[in-house]
Symmetry: C2
Subunit: 253 residues, 2 copies
C-alpha cells in the first residue's frame, strides 16, 4: 500500500524490512548514501523517510553513527490501547471473552455526554467480560452510537476484536481519549471479576472518534489491578509510549 509520496514509500519499504526481521534489532540501517543509491532519490527524501521512522520509535541513533533498529517496536501504542486481545497475546497469554449483554436502549447521561447525544437517544450497549488465561481480568462496558452499534449485530463479538469487525465494515477509528483512575468495586463488578466488593479497580474510560471527529464509542473498562497495569515510557524531548502490562505474579501490593 504505497502511500503516494516518495518518502512515504521509502519509509514503508524500510519499515517492512524492520518488522519482517530482515533488519534485526540493534543492527544498523544502510547509510543515507547507500539508500540514495538504492532508491535513486535525493538525500533529502531519504532523510525525510528516516525522520518518519525515528518519530515512530523504530530507529534511534545519532550523528556520525548509522541509525540502529530499536530494541522493541513495542507495537503500535494506538492498537495496543484499542485491542484487548492483541495486548493479551503480545503478553504471551491467551485471551478470551464472554459477551454478557448486547442491547439497544436509551443512552445514559454519562455516555450521552461523551457521544454528544441527548440522554435517552437510542444507542447500542455492550457488556463484555474479558479473560486472560481463562481468568476474569476486565469488565468492559461500551456504548456505541446507533448507526455504528447496529453493525455489531452482524458479527460475533466473542470471535475477536470489535474494532477489527468494525474496520472490516469501513468504520475506522482514528483517535481516542483515555482517562485512567481507580474506583471501589461495586457489587456487580466485584461478582463478575471475582474480587471483594469495595476493593480497588483500575478504570480506563475512553471516547473513540472517527477521522471527522465524530465520537462513536464511549467505553468504561474496569481491570483487576493485580492482573493489569498501564506503563508509560518517557524520554525528554522524545515522545511517550503507553502500553498495558501484565504484572509479574506475586508482586507486592
Amino acid at each position: 500500500m504505497p502511500s503516494g509520496s516518495l518518502h512515504a514509500k521509502l519509509a514503508d519499504a524500510l519499515r517492512e524490512r524492520i518488522v519482517s526481521g530482515a533488519l534485526a534489532v540493534g543492527e544498523p540501517l544502510p547509510s543515507e548514501a547507500r539508500l540514495v543509491e538504492e532508491f535513486g532519490t535525493s538525500r533529502g527524501t531519504v532523510r525525510q523517510a528516516l525522520s518518519t521512522l525515528r518519530n515512530e520509535g523504530l530507529i534511534e541513533g545519532g550523528q556520525g553513527r548509522r541509525p540502529i533498529v530499536r530494541r522493541r517496536p513495542m507495537g503500535q501504542p494506538f492498537e495496543t490501547f484499542l485491542s484487548f486481545s492483541a495486548w493479551v497475546e503480545r503478553s504471551g497469554h491467551r485471551p478470551g471473552q464472554r459477551t454478557i449483554e448486547l442491547a439497544r436502549r436509551g443512552a445514559d447521561p454519562v455516555a450521552a455526554d461523551a457521544l454528544r447525544l441527548e440522554p435517552g437517544e437510542p444507542v447500542i450497549d455492550v457488556l463484555r467480560l474479558r479473560l486472560l488465561d481463562d481468568e476474569s481480568v476486565m469488565l468492559e462496558r461500551s456504548t456505541f452510537v446507533l448507526d455504528i452499534g447496529l453493525l455489531l449485530f452482524d458479527f460475533d463479538p466473542d470471535a475477536g476484536s470489535i474494532y477489527a469487525g468494525l474496520l472490516a465494515r469501513g468504520v475506522e477509528i482514528v483517535a481516542a481519549t483515555h482517562t485512567i483512575d481507580a474506583i471501589a468495586a461495586p457489587a456487580e463488578d466485584a461478582r463478575l471479576l471475582g474480587v471483594p466488593k469495595g476493593g480497588p479497580l483500575l478504570r480506563e474510560r475512553r471516547t473513540a472518534s472517527l477521522a471527522d471527529g465524530r465520537p462513536v464509542e464511549y467505553g468504561d473498562d474496569r481491570y483487576r489491578p493485580d492482573r493489569a497495569t498501564f506503563t508509560i515510557a518517557n524520554e525528554r524531548a522524545h515522545h511517550l509510549a503507553l502500553v498495558r502490562t501484565v504484572p509479574e505474579t506475586g508482586e507486592a501490593l
Copy 2:
C-alpha cells in the same frame, strides 16, 4: 538559550511567541515565505523548525492552509509527569507540600531492585504529602541513590520541585518509566490522605534515569482517585500525550 542550530533557534523563537500569547490559540502562523523573509534562512530550515513544533503538538494544520496554534498546548508531557507543582498550577489550582520525612537508610528490596542496588545499601528516602488547594491529594515516597539524594539536604524540599533543585545542581533526569495501577489504601496512607482504609488509591510508580541510563530515583506516588486521574490522547499514526488531570468535582464514581 539558543540551541545551536539555526532551525532550533527558529523553533525557539516561534515557540516563545506561542507560549507568550503573541500568537493566540487558533491563530494562523506566518506563512513559510514570510518566515524565510523574516529570518533570512532558506525554506528548508523554516520547514524543519515548523516540523519540530508540529511534533511537539504546538501547531497543526495541513496543505494549502497556514498552520494554526493548537487549542491546548497541554504542556510538555515529560515535565507534566515529573513536576507535581507544575501540574497543579497549570490546572488552575494552588500546589502545596509537606515533607514528612527525609532520611538516610538502607534501601528496601523493591527500590533496590529498581535502582540496581543491593537491598540495604544506603539511600535517601523522602516521604512527602502533596496538597492541592490545601487538601491532601497525593502521598509521595521517593528513594534516591545516595550521591544524588544527599543533594536534597542542600535545599528545602518544601520550597518547590525536587527535580528543579536537582537540575540546578547539575543533575538532569532525562528518562522515566511509569507504571499505573490501583491499590487498597493501607492504614497509614488512608490516615494521611483522609480516605477510608481499604478504599481505592491510584498509584503511579516510576524509575527515573540520567542520560547515561543510570537509575537515580524510584518513586511510589499514591493519589486520591477523586482528585487526580491520568489522561491519554491517542491518535492513529500520531503520538500519545499523557497528562495528569484534576477531575471535575461531583463526578460520579
